[in-house]
Symmetry: C2
Subunit: 142 residues, 2 copies
DNA sequence: CGGTAATCTGGACTGAGTCCAAATCGCGAT
DNA sequence: ATCGCGATTTGGACTCAGTCCAGATTACCG
């Protein structure tokens, strides 16, 4: 199970023209174990906790590679804050201005409808939708 | 003209429950003069160039206030990169991964399903859409 | 005009993200 | 299996946008 998981990941990395290296598989495994939205440093800490010693820089490198291979999704949550999550159903994010919570927001039309701007700007590779506001919990306690 | 501009801005700040202070009006004036998408530090530099001495922190404070008053728009362009622009027609942005260019993308008002989440997450105050890819110029020279 | 709370200031600080050159490793070719 | 080379990792230092704080100022109300 763990092995088939790593084998599949390796295959997908190579499909993307990337090498299936130790750090990349380690990061992916850690992310699957931790789940949810994680910052690069949280992933790093998670690895250390499991006695998987890996330089912080390598985590950044691995995340970039995994992201470009489509194995993890990247979400820019605000200045100086980015989170990663294992790639699943495409969705958007809601960020609470008060508590910083990040909530998943299903994409209304399914697929990636937002990938098509109304004007010709170039090759659009991804569209990120971020809702900002106050989450239900914070709104309640105010 | 310059005076009516400042008077209007003052009024709009007060409408938003904010004080019409020197730094805020100075920043807004500088942004109008410079135009386009500007980082906080570019605004700061622009002010210095006009012999308007203002601490960097104050520019950040002013931009936050102007943003919450709706006089300038804020766009999160990537980790550690945010740009501001004088508020006009609401629109989205395309960011080129190669050259970093930021292009305006008109918002097909109402046409984009993603602008309204279809689950209850809380009070949504804004939805930001960021397209990432390779701009036409960069695509041509490759 | 004061009084007062909002805002400004200057400076130090934080920490996510980046950069680089030497060492290592994955993998296609032999 | 083994080799060779280019992709990748590593460790460490570094950058610099953004934040934080406490004392000085200032806008605005009565
Ligand atoms: Mn998510
Ligand atoms: Mn714009
Ligand atoms: Zn919240
Ligand atoms: Zn470009």
């Amino acid at each position: 199970m763990e092995d088939t998981f790593r084998a599949e990941a390796s295959a997908r990395l190579r499909e993307a023209g990337l090498r299936a290296t130790g750090p990349r598989l380690a990061v992916l495994t850690a992310m699957r174990r931790m789940g949810g939205h994680r910052t690069a440093d949280e992933v790093h800490a998670g690895l250390i906790e499991q006695d998987v010693r890996l330089p912080r820089t390598s985590v950044y490198n691995a995340l970039a590679a995994l992201s470009s291979a489509g194995l993890v999704n990247y979400a820019d949550i605000g200045p100086g804050a980015a989170v990663y999550e294992t790639a699943g159903e495409w969705h958007h994010h809601f960020v609470c201005r008060r508590c910083g919570a990040v909530l998943d927001v299903p994409c209304a039309a399914g697929g990636k409808p937002c990938l098509t701007p109304d004007i010709e700007v170039g090759v659009v590779e991804e569209a990120q939708v971020i809702f900002r506001g106050v989450c239900a919990d914070c709104a309640a306690s105010a």
